[in-house]
């Protein structure tokens, strides 16, 4: 049996494939065969290394040598020098941009790795149902450190110094939030974890709870110690059964170990956690609505002040933080505020987890330092746009966010830059769109969502969003006028200015940002009655070209509404008043006689 001594890994990501990694594999294999090394050295194509700008990449195992910008003709030198003589091929090594020194071992070139996993540090590493694996990876060490070495004031100061901001979307400084809650005195205070993840396409909170529930439990206990709360509540949506199950298992295991309960680590501090289930209303991600829902009231937001820090759950001071925020916290105490502070940009520290979705090759969960550009996220980590299509926009911030375009690709991602570009961080959904997406329809999709999810408490959101949706629908149907576009903009501003909570204040964002960035597309819908992406059905016409049509009648037979007529062996036509634009005829036609106009 062959037992390989060496492996040559060739990047098979889309970018590298485009620059001939297939040919490299072939050449390497050929060279090895010629030298009779095929039983000792194996050539394998792998997934994307996430370093596309220097592709194609070839990595040699077991010595971890990392070759960049390899050409098929380099196969010979790699085999002759590296494989046979054991000498690294210097001209193919990566050069450190700072000092032009070659770096051979990929273990020493962490900086090329765009991702840094802090919140996701244990996801996919530990068994989430086994507390021992978590403790072996430092779980509860931060809690122990805080309880035994720090006063609550010192611990809060550390959090302020770290610069951590809320990852749920708002970006409020976490340390400040804790400080305010700690200064309000009451016989009972509460710590609440907001696990009501509602943005379409965002699933980082679910993944953290499913992959590393202990990081959240530990951080909630630290939070309790800092603000003087002994009770913690996790508000989690009932649609996340696996996350709930793993969280329950974790809480029980922590209790068994005595790390939750009375007199934790003999310090006199007591803390315990309970779960509260949400029914999946988007508005319950807003903290006042969330608290009302936990109290058994309707999940409707109320006016702030009073802030939950003064009067929250059952009228007691309450601190609400999001799952991802909590997941960062133990590391901050273990490695220090200064360590965390150095990661990220001036005003946004640390990393952010994004759920990459849409028309992108590597759909998935990623975690990047703040300040990484959209281009790096989409083209390097995400592996570029699917099927080689053209990038059109990326939607961040979910229904409260906006669409960013080509011109924003090099903007470093942080809270403030995203807001300045007309979008927002939100909880971290990132939906990538290509040339086949119609931006008016995208705006309508998000409005569809907010109309469904508006709690109905205040008129601007309840009625205004419905009207916005109607306007967009009219435009998509090709019945819009220029006046409708002005109405859209005016109404959007009214809704933003007069709504009570974050839902209404941000719901017109998808409309405003698409109006700003894709005005041409709106204009085409209104003026030319045209949808360039071919999404708006009412603006399309299926037309049979009489020239290639042979009159086979296949289209007429497949048409579900009988819109196609014509003599056998004679040209057919489609009655546009009957046609429902299902496209069945076009799929069926063997003569390419049917096209979309």
């Amino acid at each position: 049996m062959a037992k390989y001594k060496m492996h040559l890994l060739v990047c098979g990501g889309t970018g590298c494939r485009a620059s001939a990694s297939d040919a490299i594999v072939g050449k390497l294999q050929k060279e090895l065969d010629e030298k009779n090394l095929q039983d000792e050295v194996q050539v394998v194509m792998t997934g994307c290394f996430g370093f596309c700008e220097k592709g194609p990449i070839v990595k040699v195992l077991p010595d971890n040598t990392f070759y960049v910008q390899v050409k098929p003709d380099d196969a010979k030198v790699i085999v002759e020098e590296h494989v046979i003589k054991g000498r690294k091929v210097e001209k193919l090594l990566y050069k450190d941009p700072a000092d032009q020194k070659e770096i051979s071992d990929s273990k020493h070139m962490g900086f090329y790795k765009k991702q840094l996993r802090i919140a996701l540090r244990n996801c996919g590493v530990i068994n989430p149902e086994n507390i021992e694996e978590a403790i072996a990876r430092d779980a509860y060490a931060a809690l122990a450190k805080v309880l035994t070495e720090m006063t609550p004031q010192q611990a809060i100061q550390e959090m302020i110094d770290s610069g951590l901001r809320g990852r749920g979307g708002g970006g409020f400084p976490t340390g400040m939030k804790w400080k305010i809650a700690s200064q309000n005195h009451a016989d009972q205070k509460y710590v609440v974890c907001n696990a009501d993840e509602g943005d379409p396409g965002a699933f980082m909170d679910r993944s953290i709870l499913e992959g590393d529930p202990h990081s959240v439990i530990e951080a909630m206990a630290i939070n309790g110690y800092c603000i003087g709360a002994t009770k913690g509540l996790v508000y989690i949506r009932a649609e996340y059964p696996l996350a709930i199950e793993r969280l329950k298992i974790a809480i029980n295991q922590v209790r068994e170990y005595g790390l939750l309960g009375d007199d934790i680590l003999g310090t006199g501090f007591s803390f315990d956690i309970q779960l509260r289930y949400g029914a999946g209303a988007f508005v319950c991600g807003e903290e006042t609505a969330l608290i009302h829902s936990m109290e058994g009231e309707r999940g409707e937001p109320t006016f702030k002040p009073p802030f939950p820090a003064e009067s929250g759950y059952l009228g007691k001071p309450t601190n609400v933080n999001n799952v991802e925020t909590y997941a960062n916290i133990p590391v901050i105490y273990l490695k220090g505020a200064n360590w965390f502070n150095k990661i990220g940009t001036a005003k946004s520290k640390g990393t952010k987890v994004f759920a990459l979705a849409g028309k992108i090759n590597n759909v998935g969960l990623i975690e990047v330092p703040m300040g990484t550009t959209l281009r790096e996220v989409i083209y390097e980590i995400g592996g570029g746009i699917k099927d080689g299509k053209k990038f059109k926009a990326v939607q961040t911030g979910g229904p409260s966010g906006g669409c960013l375009t080509e011109k924003h690709l090099d903007t470093p991602i942080d809270y403030d830059n995203l807001i300045a570009s007309g979008s927002m961080m939100g909880s971290g959904g990132m939906i990538v769109m290509d040339e086949d997406d119609c931006m008016v329809s995208v705006a309508r999709f998000y409005l569809d969502f907010t109309v469904e999810e508006s709690c109905g408490k205040c008129a601007p959101c309840r009625i205004g969003n419905k009207r916005l949706h109607e306007q967009l629908d009219i435009i998509c149907k090709g019945k819009g006028t220029l006046a409708d576009m002005d109405k859209l903009r005016n109404l959007s501003h009214v809704i933003k200015d007069t709504s009570l909570c974050g839902l209404g204040q941000t719901s017109p964002n998808p409309v405003l940002s698409t109006l700003d960035n894709f005005y041409d597309e709106y204009l085409e819908h209104v003026h030319d009655k045209k949808c360039r992406a071919g999404v708006c059905k009412d603006l399309m016409q299926y037309i049979i070209d009489t020239e290639p049509c042979v009159g086979c009648t296949a289209c007429a037979r497949v048409c579900p509404v009988g819109a196609i007529s014509g003599e056998r062996k004679g040209p057919h036509t489609i009655d546009q008043t009957i046609c429902i634009k299902c496209g069945a005829c076009m799929d069926k036609c063997k003569f390419n006689a049917i096209s979309i106009h």
Partner: protein, 134 residues
């Protein structure tokens, strides 16, 4: 279950558990344990990770391979679910994507038995907090 009552307790416990996990992960010459981790978050399970995990548990036993199969959370490679990580003794772990029963069989026969890599490898493209000491 012994309760953790003090900081010293926790530190001892951590040290013990770490040795236990290290022993399993790094092994020594006598250690021949193969480790398979299956990403079992909602996304993984929806794409068939449970079946893959059962396949590994059953087949590794049937084929007399000394191995530990555990579940873990999301590794982040949603496009390539189900994903697994295989750690052979004294080697760096390797992540494989798009693993179904057929692929799992190939991984056992080729990679676990012979150290021969099979297509579907996902290179690690992130930095961990352990090696980030800027």
């Amino acid at each position: 279950m012994v309760k953790v009552k003090s900081l010293a307790d926790l530190q001892n416990l951590k040290a013990n558990l770490q040795t236990k996990v290290d022993l399993r992960e790094k092994g020594d010459s006598a250690e021949r344990l193969v480790q398979v981790r299956v990403a079992m978050a909602t996304c993984g399970i929806a794409s068939g990770a449970k079946k893959v995990m059962e396949f590994f548990i059953d087949e590794l036993e049937k084929r007399n391979i000394d191995a530990v199969v555990t579940q873990t959370g999301c590794m982040g490679y949603c496009y390539a679910e189900p994903t697994i990580e295989v750690k052979l003794p004294n080697q760096d772990p390797v992540v494989f994507g798009y693993v179904d029963s057929k692929k799992a069989d190939e991984i056992i026969e080729k990679y676990i038995k012979n150290g021969e890599l099979v297509p579907g490898i996902i290179p690690v493209n992130y930095e961990t907090i352990d090696n980030n000491n800027q």
